[in-house]
Structure formats: C-alpha cells, structure tokens
Symmetry: C2
Subunit: 549 residues, 2 copies
C-alpha cells in the first residue's frame, strides 16, 4: 500500500528551515530511501516517495506557517539541483504506476503555483547546478527561477533525446504557455541533452535571473525577501499543526471521523460517504483557530484528499466512485456561511483553497464519479459541489415507502458560484451550463432554498431524479453498465467531457500533455525491452520503429 | 499507395446534386467499393476512400459552385443516415493507419465548418434515420442538424459501450464545446448504444430540430434556403473547375509544376521545394478567374495539399520535412498583394482559405518540419508563413563562397498578420511571440522589407542564421539528430509545443481528444485479440483488463 501521510520528522529527502518571512525547502534525496526496491535515487532524482514528502511540506507551509511569505526551493547537493524522476524507477514501473505518479506530481506542482498565487506564499527556485527533466519542471512551477551562472549549472529537458518520452510534469506546457518560450527555441531546447545555461537561458526565457556562485545565496535571499514583501500573510498568527489523520484502513474500506469509504469489490464501486458536522461552527475566528485540524471543513478536506489518493494508488480496479453525504444540512450551511463570512482570513482562505484543490483532484481522477442524493443527505453548498464535479448525479425524488426520513433536498450556496473554480478557470456550474449561461443566474437565485428532486432536475442541477419505485433499479443498472465498459475508454471519455470551455496551463497539462505522454508510455519505442526507457544506462542503443504516427 | 485525387465521375459513395442556391451531397456508400480488401461498407459506414470523395466534393463545392450557398448533407439509404467508420476496417488496420485516417477525417470535418463560416456555404445535416458514431460526428460538423421524428431515427455515439474506443472525429469535443451539451447528459448519451431520438435529442442540444418524416424533405429545403439567404456568395459567377493535378510520382519523390518533393530515404528527409511564379499576376479579377486552377497561388495550394496527404499516408518513415522556396521573391510579393487587394472577392477568398487550411495541415502533421532559407529562396508573405509553421527555421546569413547568388532575404507581408490563422485562432506570429507581443508589432513594421539573416534573426523570425562556413554542418547535424530520436516522442513533443495560447474546438480535437484516442488505440482492451474492436460482430465478449489508468 502506498501511504500519502507523512511528517517532517519522518522526511528522508527534504529539509525545511524557517527563517521568516522566508522558508527554505531543501531537496536532499537519500538515495537508499526508495519507495520500492530495485533502484537508487542518485543525484537528487525522485520517486513517488520523494514527492509525497514534497506535497506534505507544501501543505504544512501553507497551514502551519502563516508567517512564511516566500519559499526558496533549493538543493542540498553540490552542483546538482535535481535530476528529475528516477529513470530506473520509471523503467521498472507498470503503466498504471507511471501514469498515477505523473498525475500526483503534476498536482503537487500545480499546488505550488496555487500557493504562490492564492496563499501568497511565493515560491522561488534556486538552481545551484543541473536541473534536468523533472528537476527543471519543478523549477518551472515556481514564480521565479534563479540559476547559478557558471560553466556547469544548466536547465534541461532531455527526455526526448535520452528516454524517448516527454517531460511528464508539465514541462512542455509551462515552456510555451506559462513562460511563453518561442516554440522553435523550445524545440531546440528539448533536443539539447546537456541543457542551456547562463545568459542564453535568460534570453530564451528559460530562467528569470542568473547570478555568480559567489553571490548566489545573497541574491536568492534578496529576491525571496522581495517576493515576501508582496504577500499579505500575517506575521503574528498561529499556525495549525497537521496532526496525524485518524484513519482505520480495512480490507474493504477506510474509516475517517468525517468520511467513510466502503468498497464493493464485486461491483467495483467505492462509496464515499461524507458526514455533516454534528455541532454548530465555532463562534468566531478564534474558535476556528482553536479547533485547528478538527474544524470540520478542514478535517473533511484532509480526509477526502487522503481517500482520493489512497483509492487512486491502491485500488486501481475500483472503477466507480459514488459520493454520498449524510447528516444535518443546516449544519453544513452554517459552516458554509462562516467560510464565506471570513473568506479573507488567512486560515479560512487556506481551507477553501484546500477544498478547491481537492475537488480538482476529483475532476482529473480516472474513475467514474456518480453522486447519489438520498433522503437523509446533506448536499448543501460546499458539499453540493460534488454534484457538479461528478460525471452524473442521481437524486431520489420524494420519500422512500415505509421510511419517515424526509425527502432529500439540495441547497446551493455562494460556495458554488466562485470560490471553487475548476482547472479551466470557470466554476463547475458555469462549465456545466456553458450552453445556457442564463441557467447559472437562475441557479444563483435559488441559493439557500431547499430544492426537492423535481426542482433540482428542473434547474439542471442533477442528471436524473427517479422516485422510490425506480430508484434502486436505475442506480444499480447505471453502476453495472459502467462496470461493463472498458476502463480505458471511460478514462478517455471522461477526460474529454469534463473540461468544456477554456483551456489553461493546468487543463492542458492534464488533457493534451498527459494524454500524449500516456500514449508514449505505451509505445514500444519507449517501454519495450528494446525501448529507450528500458535500456537507459545500459550502454545499448534503443531500437526504434521508425514509422511516424 | 493511397491517392487523394478523385473526381465526381469516379465517385462510388456520394452523389452531388446542385439545385441552386442549395446543393445536396448525398451519402450512398457502395459496400463493395472499399479502399482495401477484407470488409464491406454496410449501412453507409465509411473508410478512408469514402472520406477522400467527401473531401473532394467539399472542395469542388467551394470552388466550382459559387452559386451554392447552402449544402444539405443527407443519405441515399432508407432509414439510415450513416453508421460511422467501418469497424471491421478499423479492427484490421494498423495503428498508424487508424491515426492517420482519424486525422484526415477530422480535417475534412473542420473543413465543413470552415466552409460554413468563411466560404459562406452553410452546411445542414438531414438525418433521416440512424446516425451512429462517425455518422453523428459528421452531422456535428454542420451548422444545423435536423432529425426525422419517428420511432427509429436517432443520433448516437456508441463507441465506448460497443467498441471500447472514443468517437474519433471530434464527437466528444463538439458535444460539450461546440454544442455545449451538459457534461452529465453527454456522459449518459455516450453510454446509450441505441442513441437518443425525438424531442429529447432537441432538449439535450444534440440536434437543432426535428420534423416528421412526411414533412422532412420540405422542412429541410426550407431550412437550407433560409441558411442560403445568409450567404454572400455570388449567384452569377463562374466556378473554377478542378481539373486533374499534373503530377509525376517517382520512387524518390513527386514532381508538380510548382512544387517538387525529393525524398532522401537514408536520411529519412523529404525536401519540399516550392517554386515562385515565373510570370507577373494577371491584371485583374477577370484574369484570375480565367487562369483558374493555373492561377499560381491556387495551383500551389492544390499541389502542397496533395503532397502533404501523400507523404503522410504513404511515407510514414520519412520523419522530417524540409521546406524550401526558390524563385523570384518579387513575383511572390506581387501575387501576395493581389490576394490582399481582392480579399473580398469570392474566388480570392477561397484561395486564401485553402492556404489557411493547408498550412493548418502542416501544424497538425506528425512530422518534424524545418524551413531552410538559402540564397535564391523567396520566403515572402504567403511563403514566409512556412517559417512560422515550422518547428525550426535555418537561414543562411550572407552569400556562399564562390557563388554569386545574392544573400537570402525574407520579406513579411500582410498575409502573415491575419488571413492565415492557426487552429488556436491566432496568427502564427502572435503564437510565436506570445511572450513578447511587442515583437509582433515590430515585425509588422518590417512588412515589405528584405531582411537579411542578421535582421531576420534579430526580429525573431528564424531560429538560427549561420553563415556559409557553418551552414552545411549545422543543418546536417540538426537533421541527423532529429532522425536519431524516437518518432513517437517527437510526435508528442511537437503536438505540445506547436499550440501555445488559447485552445479551440479544433485544437482540442487534435490535442486532447486525438491524444486520448491514440492512447486507447494502443490499449489491449480495444485492440488485442481479446479487445472490443477486434471482437466486434463475432458474438464473443471482450475480456477487459479492469485496472483504471
């Protein structure tokens, strides 16, 4: 089992030093501490285990360190920043592991950009030597790249010449779309194994700044302080320690305090049931801070995030995720209102951003997602967003015979109209109603109203609203039908239907770039016994099929 | 060899009837007339041969029939519109053929949309029965879809449930991005093998209009006339007959009057040399019309188009295309000026649109493209656009020792600043200079000036400008290096670097959708002996690997 939970005390690969307002996040990979046997993490190369620590560190910087306003990503190795994803690890991995690894690392790098832009914790990369492949892609995720100006420090994307694959962590997209490198220069850059250094790296827009080694640390500090000066994070607030998650992983599911995951292995369905808070929200901001990781919206975000990562990595054959929500909708609404009321407070802002990123994980997960709205459910505001993040939603219209539980309702909140945009930059409702924008306004007018099945269906908020008589059959048949389809075809279908509207760096990375990379990851030229990824380091030359496809 | 040249007299699958201002383009596939042996084209299913005729018909409608203002796409079969791409053909095809087939059919459908929007020859689809998969995707490419309202006529995209692949001709993108079908309804639609019919098809935005069978022909005619009324095409102009191309296909190349293609099989390079006109342009519009297909810009567009399609389909191992242009730059400039001066004339408009589509073919071709600018070349205006369509361009700075040919220059024209946008909606120069928009303005100020190597390099118009001493080695090494890389990795690299900036329906189809489809086309769940595409029609159920990737 791959576990995404860790703690700085357990880090093997990163060092975190706080020197407020700047933090130094230093990559210093322990070559022996690999996630799986069979390879060594030389030259600051990484595997998923290294990236799990990175993700943990970024999350803690956001929540535990309000006083940190800029983060320097640097290296603990002499003249080496980072050699990228470990190639022997990639060569030995299954297709599914490679793809999932790339997805998680992409999300982590998008998270760096989100921290810079929205948490106002601005990332700077101090490239002290070679930054190759994934190493340069890590740098690309920061706001500002500084490179030592000497004979050896260079940035490179050598995947195509060396490995017959693409840079897998957004490199190509960030070159031409984020940094707006000219396409012909990008083409040349991606063919130069040894990379580009010095002034040419600046001229080609590959890095932002160079400085001689003797003045590098000083220049980095000055730049980090300048970036910090643009931040609005509080200097004197107390952070929220990320204590270990309470979690009980069993054979057929996972239990968290606010979430249960129940796996039906025969039907290949995981049901994720989110639980409403059982008490009213704290009275004020001090109460929120005091609750810390137990504050319901934060606690649930952490649990949902962990459950998503767990299911993705450890339950590959569970092809459909069903979301349910149980409990008191009024309690959800009260928390929702509190998040809105204090949206500008640094901690509340972090919590909402965490939900935004977690819902984006749902968007890019290669699993079918259905939401079921039943009596006793509480799809209100924040939780109602799952209706729009899902491939389909089914709402039971009316009561169930012989059961006094009132009919289900859904209730929109302001949370559904702005704070939780998709990767395409639009809200899920705006994306959903691309063809009828007036429906977004109509839905907005319904904020706070308890909508029964008929009303939710009429407003276009759910896909189907069968009554008690049809409910069970309809849901069962939909789940069985889904399980009968080719998992690959579903992955492609969902990746194409979920992102109508504008494309951004982020959606291009998950749509265009990842799809091509996944294709290449299947091609013999990369992954056969004669392929470049398998032969790398052996001295043997790959034997390519020369046909262009 | 697959030949893309045909003529209505040779059509086996389509009937073209002109009833101005409306044309009827009727699909009536001859099941026996297949491009290759081994399958029958039942139920108006199609193979590349059917689509080659379709492409020919669309081109002729544009050029030969200025009087046609709207086109009805319909079917000659009872209760069947079109069953889509032939599945047995797909099952028996190589990966490369499937991918190339999808690319060409996609370009043809994009061409239908271009005709509707820009040639003002508006397409309407009259769906008289089942329109399944590629059949419905053909309808989706038109401006207006009409469906017979009866018990059997339906539109469907059954690829995922039946074949474990995606709709390969833009269907998913056009559903959610062009027609803006709600994503959850699109998800349901793609799971319903038998499709959606009647009013529900309208409600879900899948079609625009339904009409009972008894009134269908009449309703279609009325709608076609209404569409025709929005067109500005001339009623009384003479069309330009597309006489057969002059072409000499040899073992190592193709000769056309205005273009030679020379293939170096050892180096795996095709050199496409475009020839400048040898005479001044006709004096006026009457002269252009009289020249017809021999009018230089039109003649060259036809030749280049044919050469691209030929190389793509028949020369898969020739991985790099090198563009050269020879002849009198002033003559090119004179034609360029004429195209600009008469941009509003229907025929000139068509010629420029043809260039636009042909250059877009270069953009989405899975071959490396280099442009070489040498003494004696004529990269001016229209032809200079190849500099920006290429992955790289090399310009020889100065003269060659012992050769009195003047040093090469490039000359921009207004053609480079608007009439020839890429699929992303931007000009190639705007895409090139995304990071420095001021460079577009700077380049605009250079229109008409002969720029030598240094000036072109300084303006960012070429990638490198070596002098005579370095030229040969530098170009040779670049070509050899390219030939040493994995063809698949290059395809992915180029597909990601060429399209910075906004994404459109068109770029999403070639980027996101095609990449996923190509991935799925490699996956055992679709194409192994146990895969759905192979087993379709056999009665056996596919055996899926259940892991979600």
């Amino acid at each position: 089992m791959i576990d995404f939970q860790t703690h700085p005390d357990q880090y093997r690969h990163w060092k975190l030093k706080i020197d407020a307002p700047v933090a130094y996040l230093t990559m210093d990979v322990d070559p022996e501490a690999t996630l799986r046997p069979g390879y060594e993490l030389k030259m600051n190369s990484y595997d998923l285990g290294v990236d799990i620590e990175l993700y943990d560190a970024i999350q803690r910087l956001r929540f535990e360190h309000p006083e940190v306003r800029s983060v320097v990503l640097d290296s603990g190795k002499e003249r080496i920043f980072c050699a990228g994803a470990n190639i022997r690890m990639l060569g030995a991995s299954t297709h599914a592991h490679k793809v999932n690894f790339c997805k998680f690392t992409n999300e982590t790098r998008n998270g760096i950009e989100d921290a810079s832009e929205n948490s106002r914790q601005r990332y700077l990369c101090a490239v002290n030597g070679t930054a190759a492949g994934g190493g340069y892609e890590l740098a690309l995720a920061t706001d500002h790249i500084m490179l030592i100006d000497d004979d050896s420090a260079a940035v490179s994307l050598p995947e195509v010449p060396l490995l017959a694959v693409l840079p897998g962590t957004g490199g190509l997209t960030r070159l031409v779309d984020k940094r707006k490198v000219r396409r012909d220069l990008a083409d040349v850059f991606c063919a130069v194994e040894e990379g580009i250094k010095g002034q040419r790296a600046v001229d080609w827009r590959l890095v932002d700044e160079i400085a001689p080694a003797s003045k590098f640390a000083e220049a980095v500090r000055a730049r980090a302080e300048a970036l910090a000066a643009t931040s609005d994070r509080p200097a004197d607030a107390a952070g929220v320690p990320f204590t270990p998650l309470q979690r009980d992983i069993g054979d057929d599911g996972v239990d968290y305090p606010n979430l249960t995951v129940a796996i039906d292995r025969t039907g290949r369905v995981a049901t994720l049931t989110l639980k409403a808070p059982t008490a009213a929200p704290p009275a004020d901001l001090a109460g929120i801070a005091a609750a810390g990781v137990d504050y319901w919206p934060l606690a649930l975000a952490r649990e949902l995030d962990d459950a998503i990562l767990h299911l993705r990595s450890n339950e590959g054959e569970i092809g459909t995720w069903v979301f349910k929500a149980v409990g008191d909708g009024d309690a959800v609404a009260a928390y929702d209102a509190q998040l809105q009321a204090h949206a500008d407070h640094w901690l509340v802002r972090e919590i909402v951003l965490y939900w935004k990123r977690t819902l984006k994980r749902v968007d890019v997960t290669s699993r079918t997602t259905f939401t079921l709205v039943e009596p006793g459910s509480c799809f209100v505001g924040l939780l109602a967003e799952l209706l729009f993040a899902s491939d389909r939603s089914y709402m039971l219209d009316g009561q169930v015979e012989g059961d006094s539980t009132p009919a289900a309702t859904v209730r929109l909140g302001e949370m559904n109209f702005g704070p939780l945009p998709m990767g395409n930059g639009l809200t899920r409702l705006a994306t959903r109603f691309l063809g009828e924008p007036e429906s977004v306004d109509r839905a907005h007018a319904l904020v706070g109203q308890a909508l029964d099945g008929g009303a939710a269906l009429a407003a276009g908020l759910v896909t189907f609203a069968p009554d008690d008589i049809d409910w069970e059959d309809e849901v069962r048949m939909a789940l069985e039908e889904r399980a009968s389809f080719s998992p690959d075809a579903l992955t492609g279908l969902e990746a194409n239907l979920r992102f109508a509207g504008p494309e951004t760096v982020e959606t291009k990375i998950f749509g265009r770039l990842s799809a091509w990379q996944n294709w290449i990851f299947q091609r013999p030229n990369a992954v056969s016994e004669q392929g470049a990824l398998k032969l790398y380091g052996s001295g043997a030359r790959p034997n390519y099929n020369l046909e262009r496809v």
